[in-house]
């Protein structure tokens, strides 16, 4: 028999438009659209993509629960044997959308679900336990490989074959631990790992810790009326002309700018260079991303002590976790040095 697949994709990969179409509501197209074409080809006739469901990334992200239901209803109508989505690479909103749709489809329709993501995609942390995810590169340059791997995994699941350990089959681990007989007991393996580590040799843990660490919340501000507050943003709003040439995506730097003489962000003094959202509103009034105008008003009214004279800003799309953490450490150290009491950080 030929298996039936329904594929989920976003407005961009469906060829319907970029950020200006990110509010697109869910719609369904017969057959394979966008990446589903390559997926179907890689499945080599064993399965067909009977329909593609398409939704804008912002619509999905801003209405996650209801939009997931809408998409699921469209998927269900086509009675799929498996549901696929993406691949989302390192696109955060898209990865979140793919994960939410597939997790729901797996729970409700009880069919195999497969997508592909870069390990740092937030969709992995959110949904990677319930969705089979092929490990992909961080951008669509890896599309061909990702689709071939997704097809292989989908085929195995449809045939009810075992996937094997994630590491060996190119998957992101779902946190499933199976009992296997090992010729060495745990104590021996642990000592071997310790010795390898002491000798600075590579070794693989059998129980990896989560990637995102948690920290205890800092103590609150005691007296707001005396507090200095700093503004920080990953919304890509920078002085007009982007003097430090901060990248529009996958940023590797941030800017620190003197805002002591500014009372309002305007299209004349600041602009958004962010490559991950529709910049129209931010460029009409950058205060909708970095709220300088109202912060100044509240400062005049005495609602808090004073605004820190330095604004820290970067672009938070496709930015690697390692870079983002470094920006945070450096900015945090500078703010501590300056005696700042609290931060308001806005993200898009």
């Amino acid at each position: 028999m030929t298996y039936r697949i329904v594929h989920y994709t976003n407005q961009f990969f469906a060829g319907l438009g970029g950020e200006e179409k990110a509010d697109l509501r869910p719609l369904v197209r017969p057959g394979a659209v966008g990446p589903a074409l390559g997926l179907e080809q890689a499945l080599g006739g064993e399965a067909v993509v009977v329909a593609t469901v398409i939704c804008g990334d912002n619509y999905m992200a801003e209405n996650l629960t209801s939009a997931t239901e809408e998409v699921l209803a469209m998927i269900r109508e086509h009675t799929p044997d498996a549901v696929t989505a993406g691949p989302a690479f390192n696109a955060g909103r898209y990865g979140t959308a793919c994960g939410a749709v597939l997790e729901k489809a797996a729970a409700v329709l009880k069919v195999p679900v497969v997508s592909g993501m870069y390990p740092e995609n937030p969709g992995v942390e959110l949904y990677g336990r319930n969705v089979v995810l092929v490990k992909t590169g961080d951008s669509a340059r890896g599309m061909k490989d990702a689709l071939a791997k997704m097809a292989e995994v989908t085929r195995k699941l449809l045939r009810k074959e075992s996937l094997g350990p994630a590491k060996e089959s190119g998957l992101l681990p779902r946190g499933i631990r199976r009992n296997v007989l090992h010729e060495k007991n745990g104590a021996e393996r642990a000592v071997e790992m310790l010795l390898a580590r002491l000798q600075q040799q590579t070794f693989a843990t059998e129980y990896p810790m989560p990637t995102f660490r948690r920290i205890s919340p800092a103590p609150p501000v005691g007296d707001l009326r005396r507090a200095t507050i700093a503004l920080v943003s990953s919304g890509g709003v920078v002085p007009k002309g982007n003097p430090d040439r901060i990248r529009v995506s996958s940023a590797e730097s941030y800017g620190a700018y003197d805002i002591s003489a500014l009372t309002d962000l305007t299209p004349e003094n600041y602009e958004s260079i962010h490559g991950g959202y529709d910049r129209v509103w931010a460029n009409v009034d950058p205060d909708v991303v970095i709220p300088l105008d109202v912060m100044r008003a509240l400062e005049r009214e005495g609602a808090y002590g004073k605004l820190h004279p330095v604004l820290y800003t970067t672009t938070g799309t496709g930015t690697s976790v390692a870079h983002a953490e470094r920006f945070g450490r450096e900015i945090g150290a500078a703010l501590r040095e300056a005696g700042v009491d609290a931060v308001i950080l806005t993200s898009t």
């Binding site: 801003e62 800092a218 501000v221 129209v280 509103w281 945070g328 945090g332 993200s347």
Partner: protein
């Protein structure tokens, strides 16, 4: 970035953004849900008065967040 600033400076960092699950995932401790991805602290389509009012409201909530003791990730 939010988490590392808070860790390095030991001061409260209030994050205002729209996708709450991502803020929870990356470890923000004080969270104020924003308006929309392209304009987290404003509602420009509703006109300048409403836009400013929305922004003021979000910032006052951020002030509440930074002056409130919390022991775990908290939405304000």
């Amino acid at each position: 970035m939010t988490r590392e600033i808070e860790a390095a400076a030991n001061i409260p960092v209030v994050q205002i953004a729209t996708i709450v699950p991502i803020m929870l995932t990356v470890g923000a401790n004080r969270i104020v849900p924003g308006v929309a991805i392209p304009h987290p602290v404003g509602n420009p389509a509703a006109g300048p008065e409403e836009d400013q009012a929305v922004r003021r409201n979000l910032l006052l909530r951020a002030f509440t967040a930074m002056t409130t003791p919390v022991t775990e990730q908290t939405l304000f």
